[in-house]
Symmetry: C2
Subunit: 774 residues, 2 copies
């Protein structure tokens, strides 16, 4: 599904992660066009502040001024606004590598990064950048996000590839179950197929309602979250995520099967081939390949054409023999025909309708009037799907084809009706082509889903980032890894993947349709709401039936994995949401807040007073002035920070001297700290210190067992505990070597200390590097 050519939403739909307020439900409301589905927007990292947040900011600023007594910070020793430099200077002057843009209409002067400043000057940095550019192309500026709207005749193939390609594995999956009961099982082919056909029509009609209600694009995550609440949205998201992962895995596996049916010698390498295809999809999507409509339309139309021709040819052959079906081969039944078998076959066969939801997600990609055009396209797609599905099933019955491992049903049909000539190979190649296209649509949908979830703080924020090719690189990589793991884990066999597939798809369908029921009930004022509600209710009921059937009858066959993934997904998303909520709360500016200790010191300390975090207060109404800052509030204003710098030193070499000089240059109190193994050594060090001139206070700690890091940690902790008003800065002399192997030649105490001191509150660690010559 292309998120190609979507206009960045005006004003950048801001996540409210900044102020830590609990969002409502999944956090986004439907109906806003700007909500549509993850158009990449680099601005999203700096969310727009609302009025009250701006007031908070201004108030924080006034406090700053008060605590500094109005004294401005000292002027800069450099001039930022000097004359503009050439964009790429011959000799690098200060801003030589940055384009310097003078102030223009309403704009402040700014510095703009040029290509040279976007890679690091290390060999690896440059080589990495070069390799990237060769593989993925040069970076694209944010302004290159283009706008493209699709005509119906282009949108239809592009958005239907996923659904129509399901013909390649859906009927086959159904037959694979039925043959277990031998010839008796095959008798149920037509009834089950008829039910699936009806299901397609019902769900299609249901999604037509979704399009009407969500002209901005109504993905299951949005619709379910919007109408049924956050957990339902997450559940739908989990279903969708497994859907997308399995779309890739199943499509790739099935495409590989189409190829290896024609060239059986490739069969043993199916996992390797599948992984190679996923790698190709990964690279292509990281390049940000935008769907060139015509190019992507071709395989779909070709597939429709070829399967249509196959059905007609088969029909002509059958007519030639008086519509007598050929007898299927003798089958030995391993199971009896029972309700369970029939339900399993039904659940498997219903994977023929996966991808049906695609058009409803992508309404804004159509030309105006978007909702009408997309509905027409949806109808067209459902029609094509039903016709192809019915035709294929008919042909299966007429030609007496059954499921045979290693030779797909479509391959058998083509072989029988087209013969072994070029038409057969065209059929197989076209099948593989549309399956590849179907897999590729998941590469648009999955990252966008994660983007939406990340915007709601339910997925790691890294999925918000767009790469320098304007693609959601992290989501693309995550999808490739997941699909590759699933594909390899199930040995690249389509039939093993089918049970997982149905669960996720129909879970998402069910929640989406159920959400629509609530939607129509809430919008009872709209015309024909009841008719829409009835359609959605039918869709929801049928989808739920398939979901439950799939989950129950296929539980041991693999559906358990899908259920497990869904549960884990929801759990993880909730944990992430909680983390971001708390982080946002902790990070939000609170000019009225009292002193909040970010965390308790790690050591248990009986009898210590507990400092409770201040309860969140509402921002003061406009007009009421901020109260003057008390001392306790001072930690985010410079005037009230009391510094003490601690410099642990081992010897009085140049590195230590420079660190001491650096520490003293800030004109704040400095304490030197030395750890001594013996009294003799301590005395010696003190003597050297006096020789040097005793310029700074020195504390010597005798550590008879030669512990080093721990005593410094405890000393710093003790200081903090005794004087919690002090901000302690630990400045570590650190020798920086040029080569990795030299690292073993100097002690690694500085990094160890840094790691250990990190969790301490109000302690800042600085490494003062001393660079050894090469």
């Amino acid at each position: 599904m292309p998120d190609a050519g979507r206009e960045p939403p005006p004003g950048a739909a801001g996540s409210d992660s900044q102020n830590g307020h609990e969002g409502t439900g999944a956090g986004t409301s439907a109906g806003k066009a700007s909500e549509y589905a993850g158009a990449p927007n680099p601005d999203v990292q700096l969310p727009e502040l609302d009025e009250s947040q701006l007031r908070t900011l201004a108030r924080a600023g006034r406090e700053w001024e008060k605590t500094t007594g109005g004294a401005r910070s000292p002027g800069l020793p450099v001039d930022l606004e000097t004359a503009s430099y050439p964009s790429v200077a011959a000799t690098p002057t200060r801003f030589g590598r940055f384009a310097h843009i003078a102030a223009g209409e309403g704009r402040s002067p700014e510095v703009r990064a040029t290509a040279e400043t976007e890679s690091l000057p290390s060999l690896w940095g440059r080589a990495g950048q070069a390799a990237r550019q060769i593989l993925l192309g040069p970076p694209l500026a944010a302004t290159a996000i283009a706008m493209e709207r699709m005509r119906k005749l282009v949108a239809m193939p592009v958005l239907s590839a996923d659904a129509i390609s399901s013909i390649a594995y859906g009927p086959e999956a159904m037959l694979a179950i039925l043959v277990l009961a031998g010839g008796a099982g095959l008798n149920y082919t037509l009834p089950i197929a008829a039910v699936i056909g009806l299901l397609m029509l019902a769900v299609g009609a249901s999604y037509r309602q979704t399009i009407r209600a969500y002209p901005g694009g109504g993905g299951s995550y949005l619709v379910a979250g919007d109408n049924l609440g956050r957990i339902a949205g997450l559940t739908a998201g989990a279903g969708l995520a497994t859907d997308y992962i399995l779309t890739v895995a199943v499509s790739v596996a099935s495409g590989t099967a189409a190829i290896s049916s024609a060239i059986p010698s490739l069969a043993p390498d199916r996992v390797a081939i599948g992984l190679a295809v996923i790698a190709l999809l990964l690279a292509g999507n990281l390049r940000g390949v935008r769907q060139a409509g015509a190019l992507f339309a071709l395989p779909t139309y070709l597939f429709i054409l070829v399967i249509g021709a196959l059905i007609v040819t088969g029909g002509v052959h059958a007519a030639g023999r008086g519509w007598h079906p050929l007898p299927p081969p003798r089958l030995t039944a391993t199971e009896g025909v029972g309700i369970l078998l029939i339900l399993r076959a039904f659940a498997s066969g219903s994977t023929a309708m996966t991808g049906i939801e695609a058009i409803s997600n992508a309404v804004p990609a159509f030309r105006p009037v978007e909702w009408r055009n997309s509905r027409t396209t949806l109808t067209l797609m459902i029609g094509t799907l039903v016709v192809l599905f019915a035709g294929t099933i008919m042909l299966v019955k007429l030609d007496g084809v059954v499921y045979i491992p290693g030779n797909t049903v479509l391959s058998q049909l083509a072989h029988r009706d087209f013969g072994a000539g070029w038409l057969y190979f065209v059929t197989q190649a076209t099948t593989a082509g549309i399956l590849l296209l179907a897999a590729n649509t998941a590469y648009n949908d999955f990252p966008r889903l994660l983007y939406l979830m990340a915007r709601d703080r339910q997925a790691p924020r890294l999925f918000l980032l767009i790469g320098d090719r304007l693609a959601f690189s992290n989501g693309i990589i995550a999808l490739s890894v997941a699909a590759a793991v699933v594909l390899a884990g199930f040995g690249g066999r389509t039939e093993s993947l089918i049970p997982l597939f149905a669960v996720g798809v129909f879970l998402a369908f069910t929640l989406s349709q159920t959400g629509m029921i609530v939607h129509w009930w809430r919008h009872r004022d709209q015309p024909r709401w009841l008719r829409s509600l009835a359609f959605n209710a039918t869709g929801a009921f049928l989808s739920a039936a398939v979901f439950i059937t799939a989950a129950v009858t296929k539980f041991t066959a693999g559906a358990w994995a899908a259920v497990l993934i869904v549960v884990l997904f929801i759990f993880t998303a909730l944990r992430i949401r909680r983390f971001y909520d708390r982080a946002g709360q902790a990070l939000s500016l609170r000019p009225h807040g009292v002193l909040e200790m970010p965390e308790r010191p790690p050591s248990p300390a009986p009898g210590r007073r507990q400092i409770k975090p201040a309860p969140e207060r509402e921002a003061a109404p406009p007009g009421t002035e901020a109260k003057p800052a008390t001392e306790a509030e001072a930690e985010d204003a410079p005037g009230e920070i009391h510094n003490l710098t601690i410099v642990p030193i081992a010897t009085l070499d140049l590195s230590a001297m420079r660190t001491l000089a650096y520490a003293a240059s800030f004109r704040q109190p400095v304490l030197a700290l030395h750890i001594s193994p013996t009294d003799t050594e301590a005395e010696r060090f003190r003597y050297y210190w006096k020789t040097w001139g005793n310029h700074l206070p020195l504390q010597v700690i005798v550590s008879p067992h030669r512990a080093l890091v721990a005593p410094i940690y405890h000393y710093v902790w003790s200081l903090h505990h005794d004087r919690p008003d002090l901000t302690l800065t630990v400045m570590l002399p650190e020798i920086v070597v040029r080569h990795w192997w030299q690292r073993a030649l100097h002690n690694q105490n500085a990094p160890r200390l840094r790691r250990v001191l990190r969790p301490l509150p109000q302690v800042v660690v600085t490494s003062v590097p001393f660079h050894l010559p090469a």
Copy 2:
């Protein structure tokens, strides 16, 4: 070899790594008692300064005073010298966890770390400490280094275990080669053994001279380095290192073979058993097990007794049948008898004299008069060794025993002469015991060798450190790992290890004896120098012969590995030495030095002026005062450091605010830096900045391709290049999370920036942590 109970050398033999002056030769001269061999000394990390270094230090102090205009740094906000606190306070007050020791006779007051402050309060830290204490015992204070001198009757077994245990594998190794030529080969047993016996006497006599010349202990590394130069010393060190590693590997393998000869079902697990024994040795030595003389004397005396009894019993049996040797079993010759075979047998057999150098290393461990007592002991040991060796070989001939894989020669002899009863098992157990003891001596020698090399800056400094159990933990671990790798790599088979063994041992012997030749030539004034020289020359010649024989004839059989290890060892040591020399030079205080740029900026910059490092000058003679510091010299005095702090911020949240406040609290110029993906976003950020009150200068860089780290890097670099007089401090707001999994939820830009900015000169990176609540 025990470094047990050695007195720390008075005044702590200082390495001169501090002042970077090139040492002469291996850097240490012989004859000083204080040089003896790595008595653990925790003081060695803070080397004693000589007069000129102290003057340099004082001068650096005066410069500091001048640049600060005599203004002292501001007073501390805490009082370091408040009343003494109880050693472990019930409620932790500031120094509650440190023992506070008031000023005493000539001593300043100091803080002493208690056990509580020696482990980190994290769960892992405490658990690690607890596990350590259970495995290795509580830490020992530096003052626990005890003094113990050995009587001859104790020293003999303790120091001879290595040499005498060689009886267990030397004769066998010789026979293993000879049987390749069948019965004809066995005819050469006696002649070769005779030559080896003579060799033992000659080398023994040669080492007697070493003891006379180096009463402070004359290890091969010291003697060769002292007399033949640094490279020769290193080569001897390399030989010794392989010697020690193979002593462990061979002794363990041979001990395992002794056990599995008695209990053949253990044979397949010999590698596992060997590795377990090495693990045991590792743990024991990390505990710092000091050789309790009597305990260690037991296995050696027992072994001598048992083997003596064996020889006597075998002799009695042989006498009973009129000294007719039993016929050896029929052997099929796979090789003809040739000079090459004989030389190989000789080289293998001469491993029977490994460990012979031990006593000469350990002269100061004897009771006075040390050199005389140790010479007597050496003579005693050589005598015992020759008698046991000769007796064993005789018995081999008389009993017609040949080399059989899986049943050691000693086991066969014991079985034949003692029968299958308890005496046989005692023999095997005693053999295993003395071999374990021999392996243990390498655990004393190897870390001490690395300690000496580290003191000469030819090995990583971490080998200087003594653990909290007063053992050279790092050397012990290194030896265990190396021996385990060798043992496992050669499948735990003694015969595969022998070729490597001979090379290292006789390389060290040769260089040591050759060094002694030079020594005597230099000390031609001493009495009987010529006789000593002659002894050493004989020893050197014979050792060299064995070394060359072993290296050439066994090259393809494994000696190549030993040669390779030696070459790599020397190369590595030279690189390390060069690194430390340069580091020492770069780190030494240079009050007269001119501005030295530690390294060139990493980007190629045409037309930039080159700043050449100042040539090292001699320290000014006393009396000539230091010239006043010029601006260019100022970087190690605080008065002339010009600071500019750069704070990169992404959003105006509490974390950013605190970082800005912290930066501003130092009352030095601060520049805020924001990276923007688009102009719109840049404008927005500037608006927020103004809303806040514009308290600090702000620079916005537009990075259209969303690069973040690289533009900041280049901006900082440009600033540095334009104003090399500024010290730039980059203060990064960094969000610290509580759990590892949360790390994926916040961007890792701060660590990435820190890593990237590290190599830049005059740039200091500070992370200002913001701790998220749990």
